[in-house]
């Protein structure tokens, strides 16, 4: 039987929901399944109403489902606020201590969680381990592999913690085996243990992609949902020769990145829209001095502080046009963790080859969600640092011009101190040698030189990935983190008799050569789907003149699209 089961863990911030989500994800990933985990949390450290949702499937899965099969309600708030998503047959596990709630539905399952936790682990706060045991018992998982994974994941926290949590899980597991009176047909039989697939967040994939692309320097200032990139890279710092320097603000971050890059290493920063606002001047500096720089902008709902812990695709227009004056850049928006990993390579290569800033757009949904991946292959990452003159390939006597004219717009770089040449980089309009100029002729030449790169970059931009039916009735067009939901929506629509295809754009700007777009027949109805309120990408797309968009599906409440959100909106539009 096909497995597609979702567990939601709801409760207060500080109750360890994220850890539970991660743990469940690892268990199922290592026992034959694919997992997608996303979080819906408030901007606070303790309390509030939050949930983490774990979707387990027997085939690759890249988005959440709106259908919850088991709700683990860790507090009263979750019981009230999350229960409405359940059908009568879906399970809710909650602590028997919560008063004022009674139900004769055996699927509403009170468990003496705290009590069992105290008995088994000696501490109330381990009641969430009891809940995990209970949920896994309901799902028909064998106990031993669960305990083995628990040992692995808790190992770092010491033997005592392992032991206590183990006992809590056993206790919750046992409680269900002996007390559950209902029937719950949804089972996830654990396959034999295999440590083959990967389980990671979009942020981790980006960080890893950067590290594998030769990142050496990172500077940043914490900002959700980008902070996890910085923290993960920092954790690599000691062993992997990456310097992560906490900046005093985002202005410092981008300028440090530019400095490091000028000195010759691959460098990047990450932030969210608000932090990127402060990097806009630095972005122009990179453009003018022709210094490579990779900037991840992990989006969250704006404007301004907005909804710090939630998701949106609202910054596309901004990053495409950020900074004054005219200079080349490129913008990408990967759709899942795997694409995020490989996109970083492309970002660094284009930054180096064209000596421009490159932006990679993420968002809270992509960055914070966990994905099971079949594999990531650093061997597939080819590092191309572009035109560089080193001491070996340099001609003497030295007469180096940093901005020497070239048809391609690209002048070879020298890293200061690596040859006997001296390098002048300048944010003013400059001569080929890099000195300030006031000349109209030189200015004109330099503008042309810089803008020449645009066509070079455009050639590197891939057309959208096409999925689903040929010659479709419906075409869903999207970009970035909606990728998984779009594909699943297309499958559902196709199953419902509407032949549906998806175009998913990762390479957004400069817009890929329109000649590369697949043919579309007149009968196809085109839906653009965006996690924002004004259809930013739809505007760009229409601007190309090749594609006419028939319907626009927007969502801007800070929450991600599930496939059914899209399907329902499509049906409503037809």
């Amino acid at each position: 039987m096909a497995v597609d089961i979702t567990i939601r863990i709801g409760g207060l911030a500080g109750q360890g929901m994220q850890f539970i989500g991660m743990l469940l994800g690892k268990i199922f990933t290592r026992h034959g399944y694919y997992v997608f985990t996303h979080q819906d949390v408030e901007s606070r450290i303790r309390g509030g109403h939050n949930f983490v949702q774990v979707r387990i499937k027997d085939e690759p899965v890249f988005c959440h489902s709106q259908k919850v099969d088991i709700l683990i309600a860790l507090d009263r708030g979750s019981m009230d606020l999350d229960q409405p998503v359940l059908e009568p047959d879906d399970i809710m596990i909650f602590d028997v201590k919560e008063k004022g709630f009674t139900s004769d539905n055996p699927a509403r399952l009170p468990i003496p969680m705290e009590q069992l936790a105290v008995e088994a682990g000696g501490m109330k706060i381990m009641f969430n381990s009891v809940a995990i045991g209970a949920a896994l018992a309901l799902l028909g998982c064998d106990l031993q592999p669960i305990l083995d994974r628990l040992d692995e994941e808790f190992a770092a926290r010491g033997q005592e913690t392992v032991e206590k949590n183990r006992n809590c899980v056993i206790s919750g597991y046992g409680y269900i085996k002996s007390n559950f009176k209902g029937t719950f047909p949804k089972k996830i039989p654990l396959a034999p243990y295999k440590k083959d697939k990967l389980f990671m967040t979009g942020s981790q994939a980006m960080a890893l992609g950067a590290a594998c692309s030769g990142l050496k320097f990172y500077s940043g200032y914490p900002m959700s949902p980008s902070t996890t990139i910085m923290e993960y890279l920092a954790s690599l710092g000691r062993k992997h020769s990456i310097i992560v320097e906490p900046a005093e603000d985002e202005i410092a971050a981008i300028n440090m990145v530019i400095g490091a890059s000028f000195a010759g290493v691959r460098a990047m920063t990450a932030t969210s829209g608000g932090g990127f606002c402060l990097m806009v001047e630095g972005m122009g500096l990179a453009g003018m001095t022709e210094t490579p720089a990779v900037i991840v902008v992990a989006q969250r709902p704006g404007p301004s502080t907005g909804l710090p812990t939630r998701t949106e695709q609202g910054d596309l227009d901004f990053v495409i046009h950020a900074s004054h004056g005219e200079f080349p850049r490129s913008v990408f928006a990967p759709g899942n963790a795997e694409q995020a990993f490989y996109t970083m390579q492309k970002a660094f290569n284009l930054a180096d080859r064209f000596q421009t800033p490159v932006i990679v757009l993420g968002d809270q949904y992509l960055n914070d969600s966990y994905f099971t991946l079949d594999n990531l292959d650093p061997g597939r990452i080819k590092i191309d640092r572009g035109k560089i003159i080193s001491a070996e390939n340099m001609s003497y006597p030295v007469e180096y011009k940093r901005y020497e004219w070239d048809e391609s717009g690209i002048s070879p770089r020298i890293f200061p101190g690596q040859t006997e040449a001296v390098v002048y980089a300048d944010s003013d309009e400059h001569t080929e040698a890099g000195h300030i100029t006031e000349s109209a002729t030189v200015r004109k030449g330099m503008v042309v030189k810089r803008l020449r790169k645009v066509e070079g970059i455009r050639k590197e931009m891939d057309p959208p990935k096409v999925n689903g039916e040929r010659d479709p009735d419906l075409l869903l067009v999207g970009w970035g983190s909606t990728c998984g939901a779009l594909k699943e929506a297309a499958d559902i629509l196709t199953r419902n008799g509407l032949k549906t295809a998806v175009w998913h754009f990762c390479d957004l700007f400069p817009f890929p050569d329109t000649g590369l777009l697949p043919q579309i027949s007149k009968k196809t109805r085109i839906f653009s789907v965006e996690n924002n309120a004004t259809g930013q990408f739809a505007r760009t797309l229409s601007g190309q003149g090749r594609i006419m968009i028939d319907h626009r599906i927007f969502k801007f409440d800070g929450r991600p699209f599930s496939p059914w959100d899209i399907v329902n909106r499509v049906h409503r539009a037809l």
Partner: protein, 286 residues
């Protein structure tokens, strides 16, 4: 051996005749010569303003970046290649207004950079508006009723941040200044030198003569101990009839670039990517 000619640049100078910046340029070149460092081993990061045009007028690596943002760029360069001698250079506006936050935090980091601020007490390039070091009552385009705020004391600020090398020079004493810069270059950590600089076009009070009459070398007082923070704190407040120049405060603590284990043996820029270890971190996610 390097000599002054090695640092010669033929880029035409755009400063006003008589400007104090010329002597700072000469002092800087002399300090470079005395340091023994070659032009390609040195990088100057400058901001925007008259002072910030400096690196064009000598021969060494230069990054002429944004107004106020010299220090982060310089920090990035130093961390990427700590074998380079890295300087940051700009005006008082560049460093104390637009760049004030970076100034504080660069001192906190104690990154091994020498930071030269040409303090002419005005925004020169934008035509003489009040800067944060302008005197109370200074009349300018943006302060027609005179500046309402007292001048910021950069030395005091630096001492309060426990900056490990705090000095003051004067453009009219280029030999002394060259000596200070050399000491700054040799100091392992953040070396901050506030340079009193006359601006003939806009600052009609703090002229060359005005300073010449007032400055004295702090070394004249043999009892002065720049390692005594309390003493330094008092000395930094001296202004008026007598103005001390020289090293006001110094202290030793490890510089940021000495702390990063990643670059203990080799600068980042010389390190190859270690593919095997990267495979290792991917394994962690299985």
């Amino acid at each position: 051996m390097v000599n002054l000619d090695d640092f010669y640049s033929d880029d035409p100078v755009a400063w006003c005749p008589g400007c104090g910046n010329y002597s700072i340029l000469e002092a800087l070149k002399q300090a470079f010569v005395n340091s023994g460092r070659k032009p390609h081993e040195i990088v100057i990061v400058s901001g925007i303003g008259q002072a910030s045009k400096m690196p064009h007028y000598l021969r060494c690596n230069a990054f002429n970046g944004l107004h106020g943002r010299t220090l982060p760029v310089a920090t990035g360069i130093k961390l990427a290649n700590h074998e380079l001698t890295v300087l940051a250079e700009g005006g008082d506006g560049d460093g104390y207004t637009e760049g004030g936050n970076h100034f504080i935090h660069a001192m906190r980091r104690n990154i091994d950079i020498t930071y030269l601020v040409h303090n002419n007490k005005v925004y020169g390039l934008t035509k003489g508006q009040a800067s944060p070091t302008s005197d109370l009552g200074y009349v300018s385009g943006t302060t027609p009723m005179g500046s309402f705020s007292p001048p910021l004391n950069p030395l005091l600020l630096a001492i309060s941040m426990d900056c490990t090398f705090v000095a003051r020079g004067f453009s009219g004493e280029p030999v002394h200044l060259a000596g200070l810069i050399l000491e700054g270059l040799q100091h392992r950590g953040f070396s901050f030198i506030d340079i009193l600089q006359n601006c003939v076009s806009f600052n009609r009070v703090n002229t060359y003569q005005w300073y010449k009459k007032r400055v004295y070398d702090i070394k004249d007082d043999p009892s002065y101990d720049p390692r005594d923070m309390g003493m330094a704190f008092r000395k930094a407040q001296e202004w008026g009839e007598k103005i001390p120049i020289g090293i006001i405060y110094r202290n030793d603590r490890p510089s940021l670039d000495e702390k990063h284990p990643a670059i203990r043996n080799l600068p980042l820029v010389k390190q190859e990517i270690d593919r095997a270890s990267l495979e290792g971190i991917i394994e962690f996610f299985r």
